[in-house]
């Protein structure tokens, strides 16, 4: 305790020489499932993540085969699960884009598709 300022300088130096880390997202699973085909247009899309989410900073958007947004605009978050209601969007490839903030403050994003009909 003779030189507390030196000790705190050492802490700072040690912390600066460590590697900076970037976050990577993990979507656990989705309903409809990623890449799968469902017979009729789903009423909602639900995403399950590996960590709990912050509702205010977590969003999903869904577009249909014509590129029109068919989600209600307001995602519902409960723990590590996020859902959004869909309007009828017809058959074809649906695109899901998500961006979430986990409770431990990692922001991650991603996208996937699923097929409707055929």
């Amino acid at each position: 305790m003779r030189h507390p300022s030196r000790i705190w300088t050492a802490v700072l130096v040690l912390s600066l020489v460590t590697t900076e880390a970037r976050a990577h997202a993990f979507l656990d699973r989705a309903e409809p499932k990623v890449g799968n085909t469902v017979a009729s247009p789903p009423r909602e899309v639900t995403l399950y993540f590996t960590q709990k989410l912050e509702p205010a900073f977590s969003t999903i958007s869904v577009t249909n085969a014509a590129g029109q947004r068919i989600d209600s605009g307001k995602a519902r978050v409960s723990g590590s699960q996020m859902s959004i209601s869909l309007k009828p969007g017809g058959n074809g490839t649906y695109h899901v884009n998500w961006r979430v903030l986990s409770v431990d403050t990692h922001t991650t994003d991603g996208n996937f598709t699923f097929q409707v009909g055929q």
């Binding site: 305790m1 507390p4 000790i7 705190w8 050492a10 802490v11 700072l12 040690l14 912390s15 600066l16 020489v17 460590t18 590697t19 900076e20 880390a21 970037r22 976050a23 990577h24 997202a25 993990f26 656990d28 699973r29 590996t50 960590q51 709990k52 912050e54 509702p55 205010a56 900073f57 723990g79 590590s80 903030l101 986990s102 409770v103 431990d104 403050t105 990692h106 922001t107 991650t108």
Partner: protein, 314 residues
Amino acid sequence: MSWSEAGLGDGLIAVRAVHFAATANTLGALIFRSLIAEPAFGATPEAVPVLAAQIRKLAWTSLVIAVLTGLGWLLLETMQITGLSLWDALTQEGLSTVVEVTQFGQVTVVRLALAVLLAISLAGERVWPVRRLTLVSALAFTGAIAWTGHAGSTAGDLGILHLVSDVLHLWAASAWIGGLLLLMSLLNSSARHQSAAWRKLEQNAVSRFSLLGIVAVSTLVLSGAINAWIIVRSWQVLLATAYGQLLLVKMAVVALMVAFACVNRLWLTPQLAATAAADASLQLARNSGIEFALGLAVFAIVGALGLQHPMIHP
């Protein structure tokens, strides 16, 4: 990654590392006082004012640094979450939004309130019988860090186990690493005074710290194993990811600390009762200093670990 993003990430690692070290020293000083110094004072009343002043000085200095770095951590996280610049984060409701709607922001506010409570009880304990409040608020201030990290975001029943394990991990690390500076100080004072009373105090304190160390290391190993099992789950992840590799480096540094602690416990502590006790005291103080420096390296690694997204295999 832009330069500003990299700079923000480096800043977060630095501010988190200093915050964790300062928080651990705050709690460690108060645990040292309650479990080591005060019970060992008995026959050495002349040591009381010297050590009591050093403990209070360390607790106060560390608490001030912990509060300042805690505020810095909140500000940098706000910039990272909202994408705002420093000025905009302060002026465009970025900070207030993060505080109001995120768990990290809410826990930070609670921790700042606990820091104020701790400061009030530290300032008032000469007047009021509030020592227990001081220790309890320091335990809460430290343990609440668990809710800001990976443990706070683990879902379900596993999340409760993760939080309990992380809180115990934080307390054990604080008790061990946070007590080392005061142990060094006590050993150096004893070597300077070279009186029978100081030697008795030193033997008593070292014996108590040794027991505390065994409990702390056991708790760290058990809680660390639980945390690693929840987050990592596989050898492949441990060896192949940046998170796993950083964790391995942390474990290696902790193992080195334990090796020094074993030398202290098994080799140097028995020599304190011998004729060359002053030499043993100084060597114990030196080894404790090395342990503390390694402990700071661990905090630096933890500063970076918390920013990694752990690869959890479902």
